[in-house]
């Protein structure tokens, strides 16, 4: 996190409050739909589409640079209720499996850095993985995402091996076990 970004924390705090109010419609239901726990195996894994995007500080990230790691790629937006709910579990998953070579990229669709920061700044735990900005939604379309959130798992050879459409509890034991099987201990 750059110093300039921390310095504007007050402004972002107010933005976070506004964002919370704006997202209020997400809780219109008395019972929220449950986050699920499964990963759908891809029958014939294919090479992942290109993913080269800047993060909130303008630093470029290329999925191809992570070849040799298992990578979780999550497409999301701050206004998407299940995306908001699953985000802390992505961070908990990362904390549990990063020592096994798991990497994570979250791709926000259509929003700017201030909007994303205002939301993630209020999360506990806050994400420590790169938050990439797909401002024109072209990356999302290249990955053939049809609804948010959608998450993909890329294997060490750069192939898409799992997908998860809809919100997940990523640190659920069943999901951790599925990912552990892809990240053998050296």
């Amino acid at each position: 996190m750059s110093f300039a970004r921390v310095e504007t924390g007050m402004k972002h705090g107010l933005s976070a409050l506004l964002l919370y109010c704006m997202a209020g419609f997400s809780s219109v239901a008395a019972d929220l739909p449950p986050l699920t726990h499964g990963l759908t195996p891809i029958a014939e894994p294919q090479p992942a589409p290109a993913l080269i995007l800047a993060d909130m500080d303008g630093k470029m990230h290329d999925l191809a640079d992570l070849k040799g790691k298992v990578v979780v790629v999550n497409f999301w937006a701050t206004w998407c209720p299940p995306c908001r709910r699953e985000m802390p579990s992505l961070e908990r998953l990362k904390q549990q499996l990063q020592s096994r070579g798991l990497a994570m990229l979250a791709v926000d669709v259509g929003e700017d850095a201030d909007t994303v920061f205002a939301f993630t700044g209020q999360l506990e735990p806050a994400p420590t993985f790169p938050l990439l900005l797909d401002r024109d939604s072209r990356a999302m379309q290249r990955w053939k995402v049809k609804g948010l959130p959608t998450t993909f798992v890329i294997d060490q050879q750069g192939r898409v091996i799992f997908r998860a459409i809809g919100g997940r509890e990523f640190d659920n034991p069943a999901m951790i076990a599925a990912l552990l099987a892809q990240t053998p201990r050296n």
Partner: protein, 189 residues
């Protein structure tokens, strides 16, 4: 006597299998917002509609760069937060919203098409960020769900506030068509 018992058993089994295929529709009102949720489960798939009150829709899109006059037709188009989830269907399901039907006042037609709204926003020259937020906040026009997969998104029926309607959702699994129905759903005012 034996045949009567047999008939009773067949009737009981038929009832049980029917219950398994389609659960009773439930209805809940959120005590804070007053928004109502209708939910049913059919053939291992959960379908629910939660009213998005016109003021909630207005606030959401105004805060994403929509001019007030642009958002009004959508906010009053009987919009629902829609969830479809494959809990235990006999395989991966696929659907297209063009195959769903909204039945109201003796007429039947699909929900409003997302692309029709997008054409309207493009004609109005709305900012790209506003258009992207709208497009991806909608329930997907088509999708596939393996067991455990689902989406939540906005769906406009296009009916007037206060209207009552039935919604039939249709999907296919391995070429076979299934459906789930929500009855007597009410558009928020």
């Amino acid at each position: 006597m034996t045949s009567r018992l047999f008939t009773l058993c067949v009737a009981a089994l038929a009832t049980l299998s029917g219950l398994q295929a389609t659960a009773a529709q439930t209805e809940k009102r959120d005590p804070d917002t007053g928004a109502v949720t209708w939910e049913t489960r059919a053939h291992g798939v959960t379908l629910s509609l939660t009213q998005i009150l016109p003021n909630q829709a207005r606030a959401f899109y105004l805060n994403r760069g929509f001019p007030a006059e642009a958002v009004e037709p959508y906010a009053t188009a009987c919009v629902y937060m829609t969830v479809l989830r494959n809990d235990a269907a006999p395989g991966e399901l696929s659907f297209r919203l063009t195959n769903w039907s909204v039945q109201n006042a003796g007429q039947e037609r699909p929900p409003n098409a997302v692309e029709d709204w997008m054409m309207r926003w493009r004609a109005l020259g709305l900012a790209e960020a506003a258009q992207i937020a709208f497009r991806w906040a909608q329930f997907p026009p088509e999708q596939e769900y393996a067991v455990g997969e689902w989406n939540q998104g906005m769906l406009a029926t296009g009916l007037a506030p206060g209207s009552r309607f039935d919604l039939t959702a249709r999907w296919t699994v391995a070429g076979k068509t299934f459906e789930g129905k929500l009855e007597n759903v009410v558009c928020a005012r």
